[in-house]
Symmetry: C2
Subunit: 204 residues, 2 copies
Amino acid sequence: MSARPSTRRSPDKYNAILRAATKIFARKGFFNSKVADVAREANVADGTVYLYFKNKDDILISIFNRTMEDAIATGRHALAVMSDPIAKLRQVAYLHLERLGRDRNLAVVFQVELRQSTKFMEQFSTTKLAEYLDMIRKILEEGQRAGVFRTKLDTKMAAKVFFGALDEMATNWILSRRTYRLVSTVDPVVELFCTGLCPDRAEA
Amino acid sequence: MSARPSTRRSPDKYNAILRAATKIFARKGFFNSKVADVAREANVADGTVYLYFKNKDDILISIFNRTMEDAIATGRHALAVMSDPIAKLRQVAYLHLERLGRDRNLAVVFQVELRQSTKFMEQFSTTKLAEYLDMIRKILEEGQRAGVFRTKLDTKMAAKVFFGALDEMATNWILSRRTYRLVSTVDPVVELFCTGLCPDRAEA
């Protein structure tokens, strides 16, 4: 939530506005959406939206922050009880693609609407996204210590490549004319990432 | 070029307008740019731009098509004289990242400005991008036939993952506060992609 004090604010209404905004931004595009459209969809007065958010940008940033905070918390919680690094990677991939695959509007906002300005993207990439990449990197480093992943691996780069792969799966899913479950891509991506293209491991 | 007939059109002017537009879109963002800004940067009258392009959307689409056509032609030309599938993959990665790394404005337009609407993205992904992914996929299939890549590999998915990795490298490079050459990421990405995370091949 923004810093504005108000006695009339409720978490339910805050969440309802974010949900409505996700739907509106996905449907009309962020640039073409108005705060009034969001208010109407959330069934609140225009002024109510401004009790919770400074402006339209603030709503988009809040969708990003809220979703990433939830993704990081859910991820950490799930990983805490696991030990196999490959299973952990698969879990991250699953949580990532399941979240977007179950909410197409959220997927459109994440894969398209959030990427329309370097200003936005610079802001995002230095905060929650860095934390998310760090979660992946830690799994790779654990795997190195356990002898499961190559020690010569550049884990920072590999974390970005893994994220890039998941990201591409999500974008492809949005744009595809075929109907398939986004989570169906989890196993092939993780397998490709662990085994690589070359046959020595898998078929030798 | 668009289909409008004119005796006053020249390839030089067409190219100059596209170069100017790339610079303007990268600097101001596509939505905030006006055709008049592009004309001023290209040192032509506003009306001249409309001899070559229907509107601002048409300019952005032409930047995409022109760049992709050139990338596909250059790629095919380079690959034609090569035989090693891994070297071919590295060549694709090099050409991809060298092109964007030498023209930051083009990189911003490709990584950010072109992705701001599902309408645009749907249009792109079904045409030149599909052709580009196909070029990567063919390398993977050749590699399978040559016994260099695993036969069980889903080459369509692997081509997307490879593209996703290059794409993520380019986006990271734009957003990074550090200064480094984008092509420095070619070898680590290709190696990761070929060898995978697991140690059996590289260090066993």
